[in-house]
């Protein structure tokens, strides 16, 4: 296939990868801009690591093409691609010192140690590992190992850095500080990061764009804002952040941008985000807890009488669960706003705006994340 002009740095075209009887990657199309922080997000086994390995050249797709800067690299082996990977368990060579690990990619390019030395020193400084040159991987901590792996992958100055759950093995505090380090490196060096994670918070806080995957399928590609506020499928809605789901039937479509859904004989006005929905369709109604108001002061289009069934203190806010018929709706209420005299069993009004409610076809229910 002829190479084509492209403004995309990384492009996957209809890529499919099948292992024995499972489809690891199902007809994926991804386009990534130069300098972008792009995340592949999904639960374990969703195909995100396989996608990354296909970009790295460590895995060959069964179908489809991979382009790097417009060049078809589908059949180019890993060692001849200008991308480098930070592996999940770091894959630091145990028989080499930190210095020699970082020198390795330069050595493979036949760069002498003398010539490589300033570059190695610079990249070790970048990841804050000065003074650790002579140590072996068994002599440094988990966080330092992560930085050795990053330094080694960065020393070649790749155009694209692939990161496979790079912070997955670290504890929470260290993870947060390493997120900042990685983000700074990405911004300062202006290289493209493709970042695999199952941690939605990590993806949302760090990425420019995110591809949300499940069972080999890409459900949505978008900015963190788009993915959070306009999830394309019920899976995305359930995977990203907290979400209330209610089942109902479409009773009327009053206008092109609203639908009315009956949930336990209560009518709820929703945003018509899925134009294919028609009358009498079964739907999933989804509302973020922070959009649900308890005993609202302002007038809202959707107000339902309910009974408080649970109140959980969460520090800066309360998670309040209200029940009507068999439906439960969780609400996040700011600490200062919440009326502390309220008790479980009290009758309250819960309400929300139609534009904060999305509907999905009921058929999407099976794809949703079931944590219980």
């Amino acid at each position: 296939m002829k190479d084509k002009e492209s403004k995309w740095q990384v492009e996957l075209v209809e890529v499919t990868k099948i292992y024995k009887d499972t489809i690891a990657v199902n007809n994926s199309n991804i386009k990534i801009k130069a300098g972008e922080f792009f995340s592949l997000l999904g639960p374990s086994g969703c195909g995100k690591t396989t996608t990354l390995r296909i970009i790295a050249g460590l895995e060959e797709p069964d179908e489809g093409k991979v382009f790097l800067e417009g060049r078809d690299v589908t059949n180019v082996p890993a060692h001849r691609r200008n991308v480098n990977t930070v592996f999940q368990d770091y894959a630091i060579f145990p028989h080499m010192s930190v210095y020699d690990n970082v020198y390795f990619p330069l050595k493979m390019r036949k760069i002498s140690k003398k010539e490589a030395d300033p570059r190695i020193k610079r990249v070790l400084k970048l990841v804050n590992l000065e003074g650790f040159e002579k140590r072996y991987s068994s002599q440094v901590s988990g966080g330092q190992r992560q930085r050795v792996a990053s330094a080694r992958a960065l020393v070649n100055e790749p155009r694209v850095l692939l990161l496979d759950e790079p912070l997955g093995a670290l504890d929470f505090k260290l993870r947060v500080s390493m997120q900042k380090v990685l983000k700074d490196i990405q911004r300062n060096l202006n290289i493209t990061f493709i970042y695999v994670t199952h941690d939605q918070t990590e993806a949302i806080t760090m990425s420019d764009r995110i591809a949300v995957m499940s069972q080999g399928l890409i459900h949505q590609i978008g900015t963190p804002d788009e993915i959070y506020n306009n999830p394309a499928t019920a899976f995305v809605a359930s995977f990203i952040g907290e979400m209330n789901f209610l089942e109902g039937l479409v009773t009327s479509i009053p206008s092109s941008d609203t639908v009315e859904v009956s949930v336990s004989n209560k009518n709820i006005l929703c945003k018509n985000n899925d134009q294919k929905i028609s009358l009498n369709d079964g739907v999933l109604v989804s509302i973020r807890p922070e959009k649900v108001h308890v005993n609202p002061l302002q007038s809202l289009k959707n107000v339902i009488e309910a009974e408080l069934s649970r109140i959980v203190f969460k520090g800066n806010n309360f998670e309040v669960t209200a029940k009507f018929d068999k439906c439960e709706v969780r609400s996040l209420v700011d600490y200062k706003v919440w009326d502390k005299s309220q008790k479980v069993g009290n009758r309250v009004k819960i309400g929300w705006n139609p534009e904060d409610v999305q509907v999905f076809p009921i058929s999407m229910k099976k794809d949703m994340i079931q944590y219980e």
Binding site: Q88, F93, P94, F104
Partner: protein
């Protein structure tokens, strides 16, 4: 506080075991090597004369060096024969890996003597090689250099050593995480450079263990030289055997034996030093 004496008490059986089975026989052999054969008797006076005799007689030194050389050749050949095998089975084959592993170590279940006689059938005048070459018309007379010399001994020792080299090599190779290979490829190493820079250094402990086992097995062997070595293929083991078995010169045999034991101990110590790095490599 109570742990320490308990640990000592629990250690007693082990110490007893070591003393009776390993240390005492060695000490007895060492003492024997300093005694001397007088007529048909062995005197109780301790002397260095056995060792001096060994050093003075060029034939002993010659056979010692030859044993060393043959053992070195056999263990090196065993490494070269086992490495590709172990590499291929541990890293390239997915299906039937265990079957192949079993096939390679299967000869260990067959009698040592049978396997040695089998090599006589392969290398002999009417053996497999000669009869095949003659049937093909490549030679008229059977090749006589195949049997009853150092070559035959080295080849057979190599064959005997292969499973002992294969097992530690296979284990070392199989233990190398796939991720490291992926990382090497990802960082620009082709298959050859990955092998030289990552795989080979990481299996050095296995390589050393295998080499040590093959070397010690070969150095002390006396049945193979006896069966296949002829007069020119005699090794130290044969001389020790003849001192105990025919010459009834136990002190001299013990001295020779102790020299062999010391060489083995030194090699063991050296490989142990490198082998212990293994722990560091994988934390």
């Amino acid at each position: 506080m109570f742990d320490k004496p308990r640990a000592y008490i629990m250690g007693i059986p082990i110490i007893f075991w070591l003393l009776t089975i390993i240390i005492t026989p060695v000490i007895l052999m060492l003492i024997m090597s300093f005694r001397q054969k007088v007529g048909y008797d062995i005197s109780n006076i301790l002397t260095l004369s056995n060792y001096l005799e060994i050093l003075k007689k060029p034939s002993y030194v010659k056979i010692l060096l030859r044993s060393f050389r043959i053992a070195l050749i056999a263990s090196t050949l065993a490494i070269f024969a086992s490495y590709p095998l172990a590499y291929y089975i541990s890293r390239k084959i997915r299906k039937g890996r265990h079957l192949l592993f079993m096939l390679i170590i299967a000869p260990l279940w067959i009698s040592y003597l049978v396997r040695i006689i089998a090599w006589r059938a392969i290398l002999g005048n009417k053996g497999l090689i000669n009869s095949t070459l003659m049937a093909l018309g490549l030679i008229k007379e059977p090749l006589s250099f195949l049997l009853y010399n150092q070559f035959a001994v080295a080849i057979t020792l190599t064959y005997i050593s292969i499973p002992f080299v294969f097992i530690p090599l296979y284990t070392a190779l199989e233990k190398i995480p796939v991720n490291l290979i992926d990382a090497a490829r990802d960082l620009g190493a082709n298959e050859f450079h990955t092998f030289i820079n990552v795989i080979l250094p990481l299996c050095i402990p296995g390589l050393l263990t295998g080499f040590m086992l093959a070397f010690i097995i070969s150095l002390g062997d006396y049945i193979i030289p006896m069966q296949l070595g002829g007069t020119g293929g005699m090794m130290l083991g044969n001389i020790i055997w003849s001192q105990f078995g025919f010459a009834f010169n136990w002190p001299l045999g013990a001295a020779l034996g102790f020299i062999l034991f010391s060489i083995a101990a030194v090699i063991l110590a050296i490989t142990q030093k490198f082998g212990s790095r293994e722990g560091m490599l994988y934390e």
